[in-house]
């Protein structure tokens, strides 16, 4: 068991504006594990949207604005895998020509932990309160899978929750079609990928699916709302919060 | 400009562009042996069995025999398949015993291709060749065609019969080329042949006999065993 008592939460732009509940649930889960969560209020975005579109200078400007926000040597927990990969792998590349910022970026990269990874190493079976049987699928974003192996942490984590039956949809490792501005520049191709992903999720027989990536969730849920189904994707933090004995859960009871 | 001066101009331009780039230190020469999987055995009964199993997996037919009996095996094969004309090269290690094995079926490849083409393409049922060595890992044959055994001998006839000595097996292609120091001198055409020719170009359905031989028979001579005499 790790013993950090404090962590930073880097919530990401998508969580802040479009999926704040996921961020709130992540905070509650982390607190239930006994850590104090600091949320630097000047944080905005990791810069990924501009970076992957080919506007590295703009991405650099945004990333640079984050570098001074995490002064304590605490882990930086990121509840969105592809953003975690951005901090871990691409920030050092962005500042390759700027020695001072490069050193900062590398130090931050070393402290960056994806949410599932962090929770997996600290969660004890005794903390699980709800064991209602549920059939679940796990969707992992591609960059989180390939840059951070988040799918493995996610599976380990779900395996610790009694009652959860994890299903594996067809082509589980394939992209959901989001890909940032790809979804806007090539909407038909993106939509075809998303439709196939949803077909596979629905065919798996899962009651809901979870993901640790908010970009994918926005994409998949945005398309699911156009389908005659109640199936929805949930951030894995929200699912965990519903299974653990957390402060928020008690208050709501 | 003539084509040659045109080519020289292009050469100069291409090399100049390459040289104009900022130089980068060349990485150390790659260590090939360290990156390849550990070798299996290259000799012994297990290696021979592995080779044969692998070659059969590629649809080659493998017939094991001894240094004394291979001509009889060849004769039986020719009879069983109804071969009327079997082509071979003169002066090879096999040549002396081929008349005994094949009789009137035997044809020698002793004209240049240009003159021989019509018959080679239309009137030969099988080509028989020696083999420089076998590769256990993949069930492959290494052929080095030469003045005695032209390259079309193992290519144009619909059946290729290859006589392989078990003593020439190597665990991998890499081991073989390093041990035999191929880099010091290659023939005009060195070949690794694994099974008969094939294609899957129509709906991924595998079909044997695309443009090369439709069938490959490996006569595997066990010259690696004690008491069975000299290599064939």
């Amino acid at each position: 068991m790790e013993t950090d008592t404090h962590v930073y939460l880097f919530a990401t732009c998508v969580v802040d504006l479009f999926s704040p509940q996921s961020g709130l649930d992540a905070v509650e889960v982390l607190e239930a594990l006994g850590v104090t969560v600091a949320f630097p209020r000047d944080q905005t975005c990791c810069g990924q949207p501009a970076y992957t579109t080919g506007f590295a200078d703009d991405a650099r400007r945004v990333a640079a604005a984050q570098l001074d926000l995490f002064p304590q040597p605490w882990p930086i927990v990121v509840p969105s895998g592809s953003c975690g990969g951005m901090l871990r792998h691409h920030w050092p590349r962005l500042f390759a020509d700027d020695p001072q910022r490069l050193a900062q970026a590398e130090a931050l990269a070393a402290r960056t932990v994806e949410f599932c990874d962090f929770v997996d190493t600290r969660l004890a079976a005794s903390q699980v309160a709800d064991t209602t049987p549920v059939r679940l699928a796990l969707h992992t974003s591609c960059t989180a899978r390939r840059e951070l192996a988040t799918h493995l942490a996610g599976r380990r984590l779900l395996a610790k929750l009694p009652g959860v039956e994890l299903l594996e949809p067809e082509h589980e490792a394939e992209c959901c079609g989001f890909g940032g501005t790809f979804a806007i520049k090539h909407p038909e191709i993106s939509a075809a990928m998303t439709e196939d992903k949803l077909d596979a999720l629905q065919a798996s027989g899962c009651a809901q699916f979870v993901s640790a990536d908010c970009g994918c969730l926005l994409n998949l849920n945005g398309a699911l709302e156009r389908r005659p189904t109640t199936l929805r994707g949930l951030h894995i933090a929200s699912f965990l919060r519903s299974r653990l004995a957390t402060r928020g859960a008690e208050q709501r009871r | 400009m003539t084509p040659d001066t045109e080519s020289m101009r292009a050469r100069a331009a291409i090399l100049a562009r390459l040289r104009a780039a900022p130089p980068v230190a060349a990485p150390a020469s790659p260590d090939v042996a360290a990156g390849l999987a550990a070798d299996g055995a290259g000799s012994g009964d297990a290696a021979v069995a592995d080779f044969a199993a692998c070659a059969r997996g590629w649809r080659a037919e493998v017939i094991e025999t001894t240094p004394t009996r291979w001509p009889a095996v060849l004769r039986d094969l020719a009879v069983a398949r109804g071969l009327r004309s079997v082509l071979a090269g003169r002066d090879t290690e096999l040549a002396a015993r081929l008349p005994e094995a094949l009789g009137a079926r035997l044809r020698w490849y002793d004209e240049p291709l240009a003159a021989f083409k019509p018959r080679l393409f239309d009137a030969i049922d099988a080509g028989i060749t020696t083999v420089r060595g076998g590769v256990v890992e993949t069930g492959s044959l290494v052929l080095w065609p030469d003045v005695r055994e032209p390259r079309t001998l193992s290519l144009v006839p619909p059946l290729h019969i290859a006589v392989l000595c078990a003593s020439t097996l190597h665990p991998t292609l890499y081991r073989m080329m390093v041990r035999e120091r191929w880099a010091d001198g290659l023939p005009t055409n060195a070949l690794l042949v694994t099974g008969p020719s094939k294609t899957a170009d129509i709906q991924r359905l595998l079909v044997y006999g695309a443009h090369g031989p439709k069938q490959l028979v490996i006569v595997l001579v066990r010259d690696d065993r004690d008491g069975t005499g000299v290599p064939a």
Binding site: A11, C13, D16, F18, P20, G23, F39, R41, T52, G54, F55, D58, A65, R145, C175, G180, F182, K185, P187, E188, I189, S190, A192, D196, L218, A223, R226 | P3, S7, M8, A10, I14, R17, L18, A26, P27, S29, P30, V32, G35, E111, P118, V147, P150, R151, V156, L173, M177, P187, T188, N189, L191, T199, D201, Q203, R204, V207, G209, A210, H211
Partner: protein, 476 residues
């Protein structure tokens, strides 16, 4: 997509939309790609061994590229000593002129050709036909496409978009005297028979080369059908054409690259033939070409090479694994790209061959999922290269840096402005807080139409309160 209108990279969006709307095509690509993905996976059961082999292959290619000018000269020296004539071509038309000159000197009216992507790149068949020379494809897949006036949709399995029924129809129409059949063995037998006399009679054989070995002056061809061997053995003249990047330093570098190539491409441990050609027919030999020519083509490769950030593009050994694993390629198929090299590798190679203007939609046609980079047997960081090309297509060429061809061609004032505004907003915390406060309050004013996003999804709408506000409330 057969017929007169050839697909073009400029029309990628139109072509890919048409392909997406063809359910039969999509199903056939999906099942073909799944098949190849599974076959490849079965060839690399041990991840540790695969990673060792792949890092060896990567190092061999990096090493060769680092020494490219030196290796090319060494290759040329060794080839010349063997009696091979080496030609250099900067452009496709240079290369075609060399072919025409060789054909003219031999009075050749016909050529037989083994599978060669570089010959597609220079549109050799069309150029030769324009000069009355019949250049016959002999790879079964390529032959089928040539008969039908179609193009390859995959670099390894060119006719993957054709069905048995298509081939049956094409053969019945185009090969005189062939019986109508949908039996694949019979169809291949028909192709074999039809091409056999071409092999016998053609004065010139044309091939590509998978590798060029500098230390021995060898051309290496990898194939299953035997047509490559026939092209390099039967005609009196053999002309090989390939890109300057194909050279490797030593013969012992070949086995690891060969096994990476065959396993990644078709999931085979080995192909039927590995054909190593070292010089023309020697004294006393009864067959083999009396003349061997090698044409080394640049066509944009030096542009990729001279910029360290793009050099890895040239590590490619043309296995096609990146396209087999690409969710975009799997859905739109190879013809949509309108380039010789489709899929992820095509998207990073084609901008150097054709310029960033014609190919501007190719680097963006990727969700950057990373599957291509993961399976590349020689470690090309394809997603990173895609991002760099996106950047190069959108930045103003700087005078101090040698630009790529058509650098900045996709630059638009609107897009640049959007990202400048975005960077301003997200790099100033107070401005962002002000923005998010208003965005959440005015969420009902979010437009219902949001460009490509709402084509298949409900509109994006900010939450009623941002996370930072919710957390602030919670702490109170």
């Amino acid at each position: 997509m057969s017929g007169d209108r050839q697909p073009r990279p400029q029309d990628f969006k139109v072509q890919s939309r048409a392909a997406l709307a063809d359910p039969a095509l999509r199903a056939s690509f999906r099942s073909a790609m799944d098949f190849l993905v599974d076959k490849r996976a079965a060839q690399f059961p041990d991840i540790g061994a695969y990673e060792r082999l792949r890092s060896l292959g990567t190092r061999i290619r990096e090493h060769a590229l680092a020494k490219l000018p030196e290796l090319l000269e060494r290759l040329e020296q060794n080839l010349t000593a063997l009696g091979v004539q080496v030609h250099w071509a900067e452009t496709p038309s240079d290369a075609n002129r060399i072919f025409l000159d060789i054909a003219a000197r031999h009075g050749a009216q016909a050529m037989v050709k083994g599978k060669s992507m570089v010959s597609e790149e220079i549109e050799l068949n069309r150029e030769m036909a324009a000069h009355g020379i019949d250049c016959v494809e002999t790879d079964m897949g390529e032959y089928i496409l040539q008969l039908d006036g179609d193009r390859p949709s995959h670099i390894i399995m060119p006719a993957i978009h054709k069905t048995k029924a298509d081939v049956s129809r094409i053969f019945a129409e185009k090969i005189p005297g062939s019986a109508h059949t949908e039996d694949v063995d019979e169809l291949i037998a028909i192709g074999r028979r039809a091409l056999r006399e071409r092999f016998r009679d053609a004065p010139i054989g044309v091939t590509g080369a998978n590798f060029l070995v500098a230390e021995t002056g060898s051309l290496v061809l990898v194939e299953n059908e035997g047509n490559g061997r026939l092209c390099t053995s039967v005609p009196e003249v053999h002309v090989a054409i390939t890109g300057i990047e194909k050279v490797i330093e030593r013969l012992e570098h070949l086995p690891p690259l060969y096994t990476l190539l065959t396993r990644s491409a078709t999931g085979q441990a080995v192909t039927t033939y590995l054909n190593i050609v070292t010089g023309p027919r020697r004294a006393g030999e009864k067959d083999g070409p009396r003349e061997v020519h090698l044409i080394l083509l640049d066509n944009g490769r030096t542009q990729a090479w001279r910029d360290q950030r793009f050099r890895a593009t040239l590590q490619c050994i043309r296995c096609g694994a990146c396209m087999n694993h690409c969710p975009v390629y799997t859905r739109v198929g190879g013809l949509s790209y309108g380039t010789t090299y489709p899929g992820p590798i095509g998207a990073i190679v084609s901008p150097h061959l054709l310029g960033l203007d014609a190919t501007r939609d190719l680097p963006t046609a990727s969700s950057l999922c990373g599957a291509c980079g993961e399976v590349c047997p020689v470690g090309i960081p394809i997603p990173e290269l895609l991002m760099r090309l996106r950047g190069a297509a959108r930045r103003r060429p700087a005078p101090e840096r040698k630009p790529l061809r058509d650098e900045g061609a996709a630059r638009s004032r609107a897009e640049t402005l959007v990202w400048t505004a975005w960077a301003l907003l997200y790099s100033r915390a107070r401005l962002y807080r002000w923005f998010s406060w208003w965005a959440t309050r005015l969420r009902r004013l979010t437009p219902a139409w949001q460009g490509g996003w709402t084509r298949g999804r409900v509109p994006l709408r900010p939450a009623p309160r941002s996370l930072r506000e919710l957390l602030a409330q919670r702490r109170r």
